[in-house]
Each structure stands twice: as structure tokens, then as C-alpha cells.
């Protein structure tokens, strides 16, 4: 049985590190893992998505509409944008941060009101967390990604120390403590 996680956000928010930490942790648990990333032009402040799939034998690295077990969104509007990718009965983990896209900045569109309430109204389980606050508490706004990973970790049956070991062996040494702290705050959220 293959499980699918979508990690979505705004280019520059550090979604790639989150997906790599997730992938390495899953590999450490002997899952077959495939991750699909987006590089290049779309990365520059645009809506970005990374697909993570794991199970006994994964064929396709991409996730499509109606296929994701979990969507991890780094931003509220992005949660709504990628909602159609969620499987029936799937769950959304979302950071309560709002970032205006360029059409909103230039006044060509409006940022929809109460986005998360509307997602919940569609019958979807939503776990909303203030990961920016956690990241700042850990010591850097950049740690939003690892704080959110902590929230996702809490939704899996993988032991906390396996996640922590991946963080220790992946991030540069001087950022290990900061990231472990951010992860812990997310894990206990």
C-alpha cells in the first residue's frame, strides 16, 4: 500500500528541506520512497509542491488529484489551492501564515477570506498551527519547515528519535540544536 504526502508552499519557504528530511526518515524505516521536487523558475516565489510517496513498492513519484493522505501546507492559500489533491478522509496540516501572491499585491485579485474555515466546511480534517511562532521560539524564522515536519511526524507511527537522527545527520552542525528545538515544538503542538 503506497501512502502519499504533498508538501506545498511558496518558493523560498524551505519546502525542499522538509521533503528531504521526510524522505530520509522513511528510508531509515525501510520503506520504498520516491520524492518529486520542482526546481528552476517555478521556485522563485511561486506556488511550489513536492510529492512524497512511500510503501512496499512505489512506481510513480507524483501525486495527483484525490491521492494525498496528508497535505502539509506552509501557507493558508496554498492549502486551498492544493485541496483537490487530498484523498477522501485525508488530513491537512497547515501553517497559519498568509503570504500575498503577486496578483493580490498588484490589486488584480483578492486573498480569499477565512480560507481554512472554508476548507474545514468542506468536511476536511485540518490541523492548523502557528509554525512561524514555533520557529521564532526556536531561534530563526527559517525553521518553519522543520517545525511543520514535527507536526507531520506526530501524525505518523515513526518514533521521535528516528526523526531526530535524520535531522542530526542532514542539517549543518551549527543549526542542529535550533532545528531539533523547532521539530520538538511542532511534534508537541
Amino acid at each position: 500500500m503506497t501512502r502519499s504526502i504533498l508538501i506545498v508552499g511558496v518558493g523560498g519557504q524551505g519546502t525542499l528541506l522538509a521533503s528531504r528530511l521526510l524522505g530520509r526518515t522513511l528510508l531509515a524505516k525501510d520503506y520504498d520512497v520516491k520524492i518529486s521536487e520542482v526546481h528552476g523558475m517555478s521556485q522563485r516565489g511561486g506556488s511550489v509542491v513536492t510529492y512524497v510517496r512511500y510503501g512496499d513498492n512505489v512506481a510513480s513519484p507524483i501525486v495527483e488529484k484525490g491521492e494525498a493522505d496528508i497535505i502539509l501546507s506552509f501557507e493558508e492559500l496554498e492549502a486551498a489551492r492544493w485541496l483537490p489533491y487530498l484523498k477522501k478522509g485525508g488530513k491537512i496540516v497547515v501553517n497559519t501564515q498568509k503570504m500575498d501572491p503577486m496578483p493580490v499585491i498588484i490589486g488584480a485579485a483578492e486573498y480569499p477570506k477565512d480560507v481554512l474555515k472554508q476548507v474545514e466546511a468542506a468536511g476536511v480534517e485540518v490541523q492548523a498551527v502557528d509554525a512561524l511562532r514555533m520557529a521564532l521560539e526556536a531561534g530563526s524564522p527559517k525553521a518553519v519547515n522543520v517545525a511543520l515536519l514535527g507536526v507531520v511526524a506526530q501524525n505518523t507511527d515513526i518514533e521521535k528519535d528516528v526523526w531526530e537522527e535524520t535531522i542530526r545527520t542532514t542539517v549543518p552542525e551549527k543549526f542542529i540544536d535550533l532545528n531539533l528545538k523547532a521539530f520538538g515544538l511542532g511534534y508537541n503542538a
Binding site: V10, G12, R20, G23, L27, D32, V33, K34, I35, S36, E37, V38, H39, G40, M41, S42, Q43, R44, G45, G46, S47, V58, A59, S60, P61, I62, E64, K65, G66, E67, L77, E78, A80, R81, L83, P84, Y85, L86, K88, Q97, M99, D100, P101, M102, P103, V104, I105, I106, G107, A108, A109, E110, Y111, P112, V115, Q118, V119, A122, V124, L132
Partner: protein, 580 residues
């Protein structure tokens, strides 16, 4: 040891294990990380370099191969167009040590200006082409490609697509096989392609294709997998994975690892064993047309698409008629197109050009995003280097508008193929105003060094092109340097230059704000003093993603602001504070 590796990273591991001596490439999404990862093995193990362009890179690899060292170059699909000249002739000379050419196509155009299918190059140049379908195959096919190159005395293509190059899966990491540099024996009938020799080599090329096709019939990379035989699928690369995901054991498969030349007998045999044959391939019907040419009936492009990517849901829908349920909100979700980063110096340059209301001949790089609102300042963008040459053409047809026209080109793109355009502007006497956006790095592909930065691929110091001296040397007398963070001064300097009846090189010099050493020296984020903000939106005109507007006031997102300060002079009410 098992490692999770990007397809590109696994290709680099394959280069290491295959005893490769030299890698020369020009960055291009989605191929860049192959060369970036090959560097990590150390330059005494594999000499890696960023070449000025793909043609130079391929020729460097050809030279190394003929000299006896296993060699490699990587490029994106459009980069192969630049290297097409050496490609077609190295197919005639063949190799000494193995020569492998990676080409990464971008179906769906995530980061490209077109969607061309590089398999046409394999057929046109008569070069064997392998196509892996996951990271393990990326590594194994890379190693096989070197063996085949030496076995058949030919360059070998390794074709990737975005979803293979930029997907990770597990790879068993192996040891390097030390392949000594082979003897070089002078043989100009083989390596010097003047007509008399080339005529004889063409015979060799045609015979080689026949021998390769015979190998392909039983090669391990071409695999049949028989399940339910009502549906048969011929596919390669990522499309095979999509088909497996969608159809599982409801179909039988012929998975092609070698997409040129094709194993025609194997295809015939497979086709005879299945009821309905589907040929699944993204982009052009390269396989389908060859299957049909054998008189085999199949379903291909008439049921699928020539454009964009395939996927598991697309295949499930067409072949099985199945669709997954999904939820959608009944609200308008504004798009989030890519944008120039907060603090990007290109934003300052385009803001200045917007005030001058000029025609802008554009080029390939981060600054192509200057075409999007609210700046909207790029008029044309065709290919690497075209900004400079096309502006010259425009100025010859519309000389009266030369004073309202400029070209913009990044430092790396200028070296890639803008210099020859500048030579043409000087030599053929146009008043072209060429602006080099010198941000001291190759930006869009993720920060690679280039011949203007003074650093090699591994960060070692090296010589740097002196753009001012270069312009003078080709006959451009007027060269000015501006700082795009100072929008008003940049505007005035360009305006003055536009009035001059001579070609100019204008260097807009300010390093990319994402460079670590630059970022470390930037001031703290700016803030809007709410009591002073009158809500005039003047600061919004530069389209900075960090500035938003709500409740009649502007605000600056401290998580995004880089402290560049370009917005500050735009506020006539002194409401933007910071800069410390």
C-alpha cells in the same frame, strides 16, 4: 549502502563508478545537479567544470574522449541545440574512451522556453539513446552507456526528463572502477572529418546502427513483463512508472531502456501477444511512428496528448475509464506565479526601465520574470543570447526607435552567447544599448559560478572576465556601470546613454541577494510606520513580494524583506523605516 538520491545525483554517482575523468557542462534546469554532484568526488578524481556554453562543454568532452579519458557532458534540451554542431559530427568520428551525453527534457515546461523532444536528436544524429525510469537506473544506465560507447565506438545519449532528474529514490552506492586513460593513436581518417574521411565514416555510422539494433533485441535494459495480456503497453522512462501506477497487473509491459535504435523484433513479438497495444510516450510520437511503420496497429497520440506531461491519472482515465474523486472549494483562488525575489537587483533595473518606457529585448534567466506584472518590461525572449542579436536586427529595421530600445542579459547568459551578438552590434554598426545584469552568479539554475565570477565550479579562485575591457576590445567604446538598487540614478544613466549615437554596454552591477555572503551583510528588514503611511501604494509599484496592502496601509513582511531598501525612496511620506 542505500541512499535516497535525485536522478541527477544518481547519474553523478554512475559517472564516479564508471571511472569518468572529465565532466564539462553548462547549467540548465533540469540537468544542473548532475554536474554539481559530480564535483563532490574531488577534482583529482573527476575534473568538473562549468563551460561557457553547451557547445564548448561537448567539444571539451569530445577532446577528452579522443585523448583516451572517459568523458561526459550534461545539458537541458535547449542546450543540446547549442551543442548540435559537434554532436552530429562526433557521431561520425566515434570515440576513443567512452563519451556520454546527458540531455534532460522538460515536458510541461517547468523551467523552459519550449517543450522539444530530444529523442529526435538521437535519430537525426544516429546516436544510441538510453532512458532510465528511476534513480537506480540513472546510475546503472550511466555506467552501461560508457561500456556501450566503447563497444560500439559511438557517443551515447542518456535521456532524462524533469520527473526523473528531479525525483529521488533509493540507490545502492558502489565503488569506483578505475579506468586508465587509453592510448591515443593518431588516426586522422577517423578523427579529422574532412569530406574524404567523412564519406568513409558515414558507412561506419550506418553499420553501427544495425549492430546496435541487434544488441537492443536482447539487451537487459529492454524488458517484457507479462500479466493480463488484454492490454499491452510500450513505454520508457517516467511514462513506464505512470503506466505501472495506473494499470498494475491489469496490463503487460514492454519497458524500453534503449529508445534509439529500437528492438523491432522484440516489439513485434510483444505486440503479437497482447490484444490492444498502447504506445505511451510524452511529447512526440517517436516510438509510435516506428511501431506503425512496421505495420503494427497501436493506440498512441490519438488518445493522449502531444503537449505537456503524462500521469497515472491520465493513463487510468484513457485506458481504464477510471477517475479519482476530489474535493474543491467554490472560491476564486488567486494564482501564485513565480516572481523576482525580495531584494532582487533586477527589480531595480526593471523599475528604471519602466520609468523610461522602453522596448526591452529579453533573454534567459531570472530576469525573464521581469516580463510579468507589475513590471511587465520584457518584450521578447527567444533563447540564450538572442536579446543582443535581436536588438541589433530591430534597430536596423526601426532605426528611429533605437533610442527607446534596450537589450537585457545576465552575466552568465552574456558569456554563453551574448558576446558574439555584441561583436555583431559593433561590427555592423548599430546603436544597440546592451544592459548586462551582472549579479555575479548564474541565478535561475541555483547559483553556479561562471567566467565572470572569478571562481571555478568548486569555489577555487580563477581568472574573471573584465566586461568593460571586453566591450572595448570588440569595438564598443561606451561602457558605463550602474547600481540597480539606486533606481533613479540607474534610470538617469540609461536615459543619457540612449541619447548617444553609438552602441553602449551598460553594466547593472549588484550581486544576487540570495548569495550567502551578500545576505550576511544586508541591513535588517524595513518596516512601515503605520502613522505615516497614507495608503498611496507608491511602494507597491515595484512589485516586491514582501510588501502587501491591507486596511488602507502598506506593510512589510519581516520574514521576506531582505533589507535592500529599494522601496524606501518611493515613499514620499517617509513612512518606510529601517536600513540599519
Amino acid at each position: 549502502m542505500k541512499k535516497l538520491m535525485l536522478g541527477n545525483e544518481a547519474v553523478a554517482q554512475g559517472l564516479y563508478e564508471a571511472g569518468v575523468r572529465l565532466v564539462s557542462s553548462y547549467p540548465g534546469t533540469p540537468s544542473t545537479e548532475i554536474t554539481e554532484n559530480a564535483v563532490k568526488y574531488g577534482e583529482d578524481v573527476i575534473w568538473c567544470e562549468w563551460a561557457p556554453n553547451e557547445k564548448v562543454a561537448m567539444e571539451t568532452a569530445i577532446g577528452a574522449s579522443i585523448a583516451g579519458g572517459r568523458a561526459f557532458c550534461a545539458q537541458k534540451h535547449v542546450g543540446l541545440n547549442v551543442a548540435a554542431d559537434p554532436l552530429f559530427t562526433v557521431a561520425y568520428t566515434g570515440v576513443n574512451a567512452g563519451l556520454v551525453i546527458a540531455v534532460a527534457d522538460d515536458p510541461g515546461m517547468f523551467s523552459s522556453q519550449n517543450e522539444q523532444d530530444s529523442r529526435h536528436y538521437a535519430r537525426a544524429a544516429k546516436v544510441l539513446m538510453l532512458e532510465p525510469s528511476d534513480s537506480t537506473e540513472c546510475k546503472e544506465f550511466t555506467k552501461l552507456a560508457f561500456d556501450l560507447s566503447e563497444q560500439f565506438d559511438t557517443p551515447v545519449f542518456l535521456r532524462l526528463t524533469t520527473r526523473i532528474a528531479h525525483s529521488s529514490s533509493s540507490v545502492e552506492v558502489g565503488e569506483r572502477e578505475e579506468v586508465p586513460v587509453k592510448e591515443y593513436v593518431k588516426n586522422n581518417q577517423k578523427y579529422a572529418m574532412l569530406p574524404a574521411n567523412a564519406i568513409r565514416r558515414h558507412v561506419v555510422v550506418e553499420d553501427r546502427q544495425v549492430a546496435e539494433a541487434e544488441w537492443a533485441e536482447t539487451a537487459w535494459v529492454n524488458k517484457t513483463e507479462y500479466n493480463d495480456t488484454k492490454i499491452g503497453v510500450i513505454a520508457a522512462g517516467i511514462t513506464y512508472q505512470y503506466a505501472k501506477e495506473a494499470l498494475g497487473d491489469k496490463a503487460s509491459y514492454l519497458k524500453l531502456g534503449c529508445v534509439n535504435p529500437l528492438p523491432l523484433n522484440l516489439i513485434k513479438e510483444f505486440a503479437s501477444k497482447v490484444d490492444t497495444l498502447y504506445v505511451l510516450e510524452q511529447l512526440d510520437p517517436v516510438l509510435e511512428e516506428q511501431v506503425r511503420a512496421m505495420g503494427i496497429d497501436c493506440i498512441g497520440k490519438e488518445a493522449f496528448d502531444l503537449k505537456g506531461e503524462y500521469s497515472q491519472s491520465m493513463i487510468a482515465k484513457v485506458i481504464l475509464g477510471e477517475e479519482k474523486e476530489s474535493i474543491a472549494l467554490d472560491i476564486d483562488i488567486p494564482g501564485r506565479p513565480p516572481a523576482l525575489c525580495p531584494g532582487c537587483p533586477h527589480r531595480g533595473l526593471f523599475s528604471a526601465l519602466k520609468q523610461l518606457n522602453v522596448f526591452v529585448s529579453g533573454d534567459i534567466g531570472c530576469y525573464t520574470l521581469g516580463a510579468l506584472p507589475p513590471l511587465g518590461m520584457i518584450d521578447t525572449c527567444v533563447c540564450m543570447g538572442a536579446s543582443v542579436s535581436a536588438l541589433h536586427g530591430r534597430n536596423k529595421v526601426r532605426p528611429e526607435e533605437a533610442k527607446k530600445s534596450v537589450a537585457v542579459i545576465g552575466d552568465s547568459t552574456f558569456v554563453h552567447s551574448g558576446i558574439t551578438g555584441l561583436v555583431n552590434a559593433a561590427y555592423n554598426q548599430s546603436n544597440s544599448k546592451v544592459i548586462v545584469l551582472d549579479n555575479s552568479i548564474t541565478g535561475m539554475t541555483g547559483h553556479q559560478q561562471n567566467p565572470t565570477t572569478g571562481k571555478r565550479i568548486n569555489g577555487d579562485p580563477t581568472t574573471a572576465i573584465d566586461l568593460e575591457a571586453l566591450a572595448h576590445a570588440v569595438g564598443i567604446e561606451r561602457v558605463i556601470v550602474v547600481d540597480p538598487y539606486d533606481i533613479a540614478a540607474t534610470r538617469d544613466a540609461i536615459a543619457a546613454e540612449l541619447e548617444v549615437e553609438a552602441p553602449s554596454l551598460i553594466i547593472a552591477r549588484r550581486p544576487c541577494v540570495l548569495l550567502k555572503e551578500v545576505r550576511a551583510k544586508m541591513p535588517k528588514p524595513f518596516e512601515v510606520a503605520i502613522d505615516k503611511c497614507v495608503g498611496c501604494k507608491a511602494c507597491m509599484k515595484i512589485g516586491c513580494p514582501a510588501i502587501s496592502f491591507a486596511d488602507r496601509k502598506s506593510s512589510i513582511d519581516f520574514t521576506q524583506c531582505t533589507g535592500c531598501g529599494m522601496c524606501q525612496p518611493l515613499c514620499k511620506f517617509d513612512a518606510i523605516k529601517g536600513g540599519n
